[in-house]
Symmetry: C2
Subunit: 214 residues, 2 copies
């Protein structure tokens, strides 16, 4: 399998973590979102959404959308499962994952910041305030949706889909200077995930296309 | 079951259509997003995300996030299925649904327009241009992800999850004046869905809280 990925993309981070947890080998093809690699005709023919990640299966099929890719991986490589077999627990896990994937991430990506600059002449400080606003509002909801549990991960002793979404978004929160202290469950989940070698290996700074540390 | 819903909410529309297709009876509780009903302490205790839809099960459990609710309904009331049993087809269906649910809808909702007004003094024309930009860009990707098929619905002769997401978003496109002519597959899917009595009954103007026509 070939994963089209950008090191800082939080949606790529989710899929890298799922692949690593399941022990599925894959090659990385870096797509530099800052350089505009995602807007080339070749890449758009592969993924018309012009985003990352995309996963090329061995038969040439291209899968897009991180949550669709992880759903496919979970059906194809069931262990360890990314969602519970109990329908109500599963609904709670999906709600947490989607609260990050629909209510936080989409309003916080490079495309949106680009439009704020182009249409409203947004300054770097405006962009930072925008990012922090949606992450703080979204994390407040995510925190409230998380169960009260002494377990390290969001829904128990093993990482599942919501943990991957939270940890990737927490990376972005640190990048944009949002303090996670008001969100103790989210901070606990992130710590547990970063202590897991498979998830830690999916972190942005561990990727082949990562920029060298400043 | 009780569905907390707002007539014009496209995510509520998705869930209403799934409930109707499966023949699951439910009561509607209207949450007026324009009046701010979603920000009351009572409603936030029920859904900390402060959005609609939310589904109250008969045992009192509250489910949130439209795609998590539909996943639960599909597990609990399997007929008709909202996703294929074939993993690759299912991944394609989810990618289309998520292209609407993550790349179009979240940047086009009332919360975002409110922030554009508050932070950047956006005018009504600015808001309309913003809505149309993301819907046109997103529908271009969605259209490219849809299979070439003579079938009426996106993935065959029966409606599934991507059809519900597309039809609800098409309602919003009409509301904001976006022409669907450049998106013939999306227009075909919408026509097929609106000719389906269960989906048509989920349309905004058919809801008990709908404003009277102008």
């Amino acid at each position: 399998m070939i994963l089209y990925s950008y090191w800082r993309s939080t949606t790529s981070y989710r899929v890298r973590a799922a692949l690593n947890l399941k022990g599925v080998p894959y090659e990385t093809r870096a797509v530099d979102l800052v350089a505009g690699d995602q807007t080339t005709p070749d890449y758009l023919a592969l993924n018309p959404g012009g985003g990352v990640p995309a996963l090329r299966l061995d038969d040439g099929t291209i899968l897009t959308q991180s949550l669709a890719i992880i759903d496919y991986l979970d059906a194809t490589f069931p262990e360890p499962p990314m969602l519970s077999g109990d329908t109500t627990t599963r609904a709670g896990q999906l709600a947490v994952a989607l609260s990050v994937a629909t209510d936080i991430h989409p309003v916080n990506n490079l495309r949106v910041i680009g439009q704020l600059k182009a249409r409203f002449n947004a300054s770097p400080d405006d962009a930072k305030a925008w990012m922090q606003h949606w992450m703080a509002e979204g994390f407040t909801a995510t925190e409230a949706l998380l169960p009260d549990t002494p377990a390290p991960f969001s829904f128990g002793d093993a990482p599942t889909l919501p943990d991957l979404c939270i940890t990737a978004q927490a990376y972005n929160a640190h990048r944009w200077g949002l303090d996670l202290a008001p969100f103790p469950k989210i901070a606990r989940v992130e710590s547990a995930c970063l202590a897991n070698p498979a998830i830690a290996a999916a972190a942005p700074e561990r990727q082949p296309d990562a920029a060298p540390p400043p």
